[in-house]
């Protein structure tokens, strides 16, 4: 089991969700985040105060997947989240020791398999 944490551009989120959908990745959780990297900073002014926004809006996806899905998921995000400009984001693959489905108490692989 792995937890894939991806930071992507908010304007690309719909594309990423679509790509994941096609790869049959069904469960995921997203969080609004703000990132700091090599991106161009945007300058804003409020009355006399000029401000550089060093943090740029991003979306974070947390996706728990079983081993066979790891590569497909990563590739799908990379394909669909890319614009080629600085700021496209990162993907981290974290080891997971255990996964539970709260509703049923199922564990690990069963916990992330949709029961449709």
């Amino acid at each position: 089991m792995k937890l894939i944490v991806a930071i992507v551009r908010p304007e690309k989120l719909n594309d990423v969700l679509e790509a994941l959908y096609k790869e049959e990745v069904r469960g995921l959780t997203i969080t609004l985040a703000r990132g700091h990297g090599g991106e161009l900073e945007s300058v804003e002014t409020y009355r006399g105060t000029t401000v550089k926004m060093a943090l740029v809006d991003k979306v974070r996806l947390d996706i728990g997947v079983s081993e066979p899905f790891v590569e497909r998921t990563v590739q799908a995000i990379m394909r669909s989240g890319r614009t080629g400009e600085v700021g496209d984001g990162k993907i981290f693959v974290l080891p997971v020791q255990k996964v539970y489905r709260i509703r049923t108490g199922e564990e690990d692989v069963e916990a992330v398999t949709p029961l449709v």
Binding site: E11, N14, R34, H36, E41, S42, V43, E44, T45, Y46, G48, T49, T50, V51, K52, M53, A54, L55
Partner: protein
């Protein structure tokens, strides 16, 4: 009349909230500024030349130059109110009409070209049409009824909006993603303040606190009530849920529809006009959202369709006993024809004028924001601000220092 003018002025910020609530939060300042800036740009243009073009003596098509720069506009009465006040009152109409158009092109038009466009539009499209109807022009002579601007304001703005939406093209995500209102409470605030201000718009058009004003006032109260009820029923019938955005839209449509008729029809006819007017606009919105026509905030459906329908219904319900000319129901079908002529003439001129102006502005400057700007939202690139900030991660820049200052600020502090 002082109060009426203040109320109409308030309509422009009210519109800013109505429109601002309907867009995404990354575009809210741009959208609100499009309305508010009209208070400056169109307001000053009106003082300089617009008023003269609309209301100075001229021919049937356009006013003259006698009142340029408010020349000869003083405290002497014009009708029952001071001339200066009449000018100001009419100015608030020009401002809101121009601002209405912005609803068709939000979330994608650059701010500078927009300002140039509405300023020119107020002078070359609004002022002549106002002259036709209220400045003693040919439509006035024809006998078309327009109490407070059904054609001059709403048909005019609605058609202008249609042309602008077509020329600018849809937003890049239109029809692909859901573009949802970021704050429905703001939409409700805007429509409520619009209703409040509209009492000045319609009530004040009687130019005095007389019986005609009272009638116009009460009709402005009754018609939107009926539209609101019908709109909620249509919503309930279609999806089982009465939407809040729908309620706000219904109120505005009712206000638009009663505008040309307010001082000419009996109160129960106002209820009828309000109730009937819900239908075409409701279905126009349903239809529009399934097309590629990205009239983003439905200016055409609410103001164009609502205004045209209201103007026609004025020809149906108007009654001499209540201050109008007799209409269809009182046995004068000719009035309906006159109303249709007024709508058609306004719509044609507005379409042609808006088209020409946008082409002209398009020659001077790029009107449309880039795809990337659209993605980021208009607020930061066009106005250098965000609507809602938490301030975290914002680095202060000392404006009087060298470019390396932000590192210096980071390190050079006590």
């Amino acid at each position: 009349m002082l109060v009426a003018t203040a109320l109409v002025l308030l309509m422009t910020p009210a519109l800013a909230f109505f429109y601002g609530g309907l867009v995404r939060s990354k575009n809210v300042l741009n959208t609100m500024m499009m309305s508010l800036a009209s208070l400056g740009a169109v307001g000053i243009a009106w003082v300089v030349a617009g008023y003269s073009l609309a209301f100075a003596p001229g021919n049937g098509w356009i006013g003259g130059g006698a009142h340029l720069f408010l020349n000869g506009v003083g405290l002497e009465p014009r009708g029952s109110i001071p001339h200066l006040l009449f000018m100001a009152y009419q100015g608030t109409f020009a401002i809101i009409t121009a601002a209405l158009i912005s609803g068709a092109i939000v979330e994608r038009m650059r701010f500078g070209p927009y300002l140039a466009f509405i300023t020119l539009w107020a002078l070359t499209v609004y002022a002549p049409v106002a002259h036709w109807v209220w400045g003693g022009g040919w439509l006035a002579r024809l006998g078309a009824l327009d109490f407070a601007g059904g054609t001059v304001v709403h048909v005019n703005a609605g058609v202008g909006a249609l042309v602008a939406a077509v020329l600018l093209g849809p937003r890049k995500d239109y029809g692909r993603q859901a573009l949802l209102p970021h704050s429905v409470p703001f939409v409700l605030l805007g429509s409520s303040l619009l209703w409040f201000g509209w009492f000045g718009f319609n009530g004040g058009s009687a130019l005095g606190a007389n019986a005609s004003a009272a009638l116009a006032f009460v009709n402005t109260l009754l018609a939107p009530m009926a539209t609101l009820v019908v709109w909620m029923l249509l919503d309930l019938a279609r999806t089982g849920k009465a939407t809040a955005v729908g309620a706000a839209t219904g109120i505005v449509v009712g206000l638009v529809a009663i505008t040309p008729a307010a001082g000419f029809v009996p109160p129960m006819s106002a209820v009828a006009i309000g109730a009937l007017a819900a239908l075409p606009s409701y279905y126009a919105i349903q239809w529009r959202s399934r097309t590629r026509l990205d009239d983003s905030l439905d200016v055409l459906a609410a103001h164009g369709v609502g205004g045209a329908f209201g103007a026609l219904l004025t020809g149906v319900f108007a009654a001499r006993a209540w201050g109008g000319t007799d209409g269809l129901l009182s046995g004068h079908p000719a009035q309906l024809a006159r109303q249709a002529a007024a709508v058609l003439a306004t719509a044609s001129y507005s379409a042609a004028g808006t088209y020409a102006l946008l082409k002209l502005v398009g020659l001077m400057a790029t009107m449309r924001a880039g795809r990337k700007e659209e993605g980021v939202g208009m607020d930061v690139p066009q106005h250098g601000e965000e609507a809602y900030t938490s301030g975290e991660g914002a680095i202060l820049v000392m404006t009087d220092r060298a470019p390396a200052m932000d590192v210096q600020t980071r390190e050079g502090r006590p």
